[in-house]
């Protein structure tokens, strides 16, 4: 399978703290890869480095062949990033927000219109898109942001805790959207989440990260078999405990 993302020995040090240590993994085209780990494990730092927001202390990653350290602008043309608990500009309407964000990815008005039409199809917010974002519920805002993240058909969509703070129905809808975009359109996803159930449902492969180290990567079935665990939650527990012993 052709790789959209290749992470090679990525590390990040904040003063004396090594937040991410020599992390390597890859994501194939149309694959959903999830980084799972406890709080402070290094998930967000890894994601921020791949999104070109933070500069790695060492190592590199390539997105569609472009290096995050050598060609960050090129990387940004091929990714979209949805941060954990991200907000939108509250004084804008949903439509104005989509138009503004579309304008950062293209200068062609017809292309921007196509982005907006696609976002409308995905978020299903209808006439509410004409209302100010400040009037949206949390679920509506998250749908708007997710549609913004995928409307440009990026090679890699990076979603940090995509369903955090959402009710069950909204979370299910968002998971379905991610799966559909991956399987039907071949879009690749890098997710991070605390929700094991969600990851087990939505991901093709996972990487378990703790204390900045990527402990293990693999398909969920393979990992269950390797750790003789009935579900991903127990796989996660065993991997983290193993790491503590080490």
């Amino acid at each position: 399978m052709e790789n959209v993302l290749e992470v090679k020995g990525l590390s990040k040090k904040y003063s004396k703290v090594l937040a991410v240590d020599n992390v390597s993994f890859e994501i194939g085209k149309g694959e959903i890869f999830a980084l799972i780990g406890p709080n402070g494990a290094g998930k967000t730092t890894t994601i921020r480095m791949i999104s070109t927001l933070l500069t790695p202390t060492s190592g590199d990653a390539t997105v569609a062949g472009a290096s995050i350290t050598q060609a960050p602008q090129k990387v940004r043309e091929n990714i979209t990033y949805l941060p954990d608990e991200a907000g939108a500009y509250k004084n804008m309407t949903g439509l104005a927000y989509l138009k503004f964000m579309g304008g950062l990815f293209s200068t062609d008005p017809r292309e921007i219109d196509r982005y907006i039409e696609r976002a409308k199809e995905i978020n299903q917010l209808g006439d509410r898109l004409k209302d100010k974002i400040s009037t949206y519920s949390r679920g509506m805002a998250r749908k708007l942001l997710l549609s913004r993240a995928v409307m440009t058909r990026p090679q890699l969509a990076i979603l940090d805790e995509p369903t955090s703070g959402l009710d069950v129905l909204n979370a299910i809808e968002i998971r379905k959207t991610i799966k559909k975009l991956s399987h039907e359109e071949g879009m690749s996803f890098l997710l991070s989440s605390h929700n094991m159930l969600e990851i087990e449902y939505v991901s093709d492969r996972v990487g378990i990260i703790a204390k900045g180290h990527l402990m293990v990567t693999g398909r969920i079935d393979e990992l269950k078999e390797r750790y003789n665990a009935p579900n991903l939650e127990e796989v996660f527990e065993r991997v983290v405990k193993e790491n503590e012993i080490l």
Partner: protein
């Protein structure tokens, strides 16, 4: 272009209905205040020729005194207060008066016996406001009565009018002021008043500019950080310099809009107050200045009279600003705005929550307040060397002293200040760009009083 997309968004956020409403409020407030001031001053000017008087003595001399007052173009409204005694509260209330002059019984008798006759006035003061004190209507009438009495005493003593004038004013004072090798017939008080008037406009504009620009940009950065929209923006295919430039340009446009509206409204207010004095004054322009001096308390009379008479002399002394001076002041203002923008950007990057965003501008505000107050109360150049050095180290000091320095020919000080500001700006810009182009824009924070667990590590994950 992507940059204009960013700029449009920033402008829409900054120049919103709230800002337009506040600008409209500024214009309305200045206009209303200007009208109140002008009508009060007009009233005060007119009131010199109109007094309310009670002649309790009612002798031939007091009647002739009232007649002479009327001959001197003073409209005398006569009322009888003899029944009220010294109950001045009821006298004023009953007659709906703000002020009254009372000639008590025994006035003529005292004059005849060579004693100083007593004249009583009662004035109601509703507040300590300047406008209230300006409208004391008795003072003009009293001056006229004094003149008439002086004439009467002089006549009785056989002193001629010319001799009396010499006694009243034993010398003719011709005041000359020399500035930068030029001389003009004008008192230093009038010049100080005039320069102060000019200096009052600029600090207001600078203050509005600094507050508006700083708050706009700091808010633009901190809100994006708090709402996490900054991360989305920084991960989009647009350069960080474009994002930064769009924010700074939008904040500058909004600040200039604020400054222009404030300046126009303030200038209109100042012009209205000045024009109405000259228009309503009974005599020529010079007399108007003297009248204003009589009616308005000492602390402001210098300003108003100076404003009316000093114009030509100021020009003669080279105290008027040339177009080149205005250009230099404009450059200084621009550099000041840019310094504010860079400092605000750095401060905005430190904010991690809404509470911090409300207080973080305090150091910048203090840096503006200190030179502002010093420029009002003292001449920075006359301060002790150490204090002077400290005050000059604040870049905004040079903005506040720009006009006086240019007016009094201290070009070296002005240029030195401008060079210092440019160096300061370059340093601020370097740090601001360094922050925005590095991880620090996302990882920097203020953590006063918090336990340092992981030095340098961001709080999340």
């Amino acid at each position: 272009m992507k940059f204009f997309n960013l700029l449009r968004k920033e402008l829409k956020e900054l120049i919103n209905a709230q800002m337009i409403a506040s600008l409209a409020m500024i214009v309305v407030i200045f206009m209303v205040f200007g009208n109140v001031m002008s009508s009060t001053i007009s009233e005060a000017v007119k009131s010199e020729s109109s007094v309310t008087l009670s002649d309790c003595d009612d002798t031939e001399f007091t009647r002739s005194l009232l007649k002479k007052l009327e001959e001197n173009n003073v409209t005398v409204r006569k009322i009888d207060t003899s029944a009220d005694g010294d109950d001045y509260v009821s006298i004023l209330r009953k007659n709906d008066l703000k002020s009254i002059i009372i000639i008590p019984r025994g006035f003529t008798e005292a004059l005849d016996s060579g004693e100083k006759p007593e004249l009583i006035t009662a004035t109601e003061m509703k507040s300590a406001a300047l406008v209230d004190s300006i409208s004391d209507t008795s003072s003009g009438g009293i001056d006229k009565i004094k003149d008439i009495l002086s004439d009467e005493i002089a006549k009785r003593s056989g002193i001629t009018d010319e001799e009396l004038e010499n006694i009243d004013s034993p010398l003719t004072l011709t005041e000359n002021t020399v500035i930068s090798g030029k001389s003009a017939k004008i008192s230093t008080d009038a010049i100080i008043g005039r320069v102060m008037m000019l200096n009052e406009i600029l600090p207001v504009i600078i203050f509005v500019l600094i507050v508006m620009t700083s708050q706009s940009l700091m808010g633009a950065i901190s809100n994006e950080k708090i709402d996490k929209t900054l991360e989305t923006l920084l991960s989009a295919p647009v350069s960080r310099v474009s994002i930064l430039t769009a924010k700074m340009l939008a904040a500058t446009i909004a600040a200039i809009l604020n400054a222009v509206v404030t300046m126009v409204a303030f200038s209109a207010f100042m012009a209205k107050a000045a024009i109405d004095i000259s228009k309503d004054a009974p005599d020529a322009l010079n007399n108007a200045a003297v009248n204003a001096q009589n009616m308005i308390p000492d602390d402001v009379s210098g300003n108003l009279s100076g404003m009316l008479t000093a114009q030509g002399a100021m020009r003669e002394l080279g105290l008027s600003l040339t177009p080149a001076d205005y250009l230099l002041v404009g450059i200084e203002m621009f550099v000041t705005i840019m310094i504010c923008l860079c400092i605000s950007l750095i401060l905005g990057a430190l904010v991690t929550d809404a509470k911090q965003s409300q207080t973080i501008l305090l150091p910048l505000m203090m840096g503006v307040m200190v030179p502002y107050f010093i420029s009002i109360f003292a001449d920075v150049n006359s301060l002790p060397p150490v204090v002077r050095g400290l005050v000059y180290a604040i870049p905004f000091t040079h903005t506040f002293s720009a006009i006086p320095n240019l007016m009094f020919g201290h070009t070296g000080l002005f240029i030195g200040g401008l060079i210092y500001q440019v160096i300061f700006l370059a340093a601020c810009m370097y740090f601001a760009l360094k922050i925005f182009n590095s991880d620090k824009i996302l990882t920097m924070s203020l953590n006063f009083g918090k336990k340092k667990k992981k030095k340098g590590a961001p709080a999340e994950e």
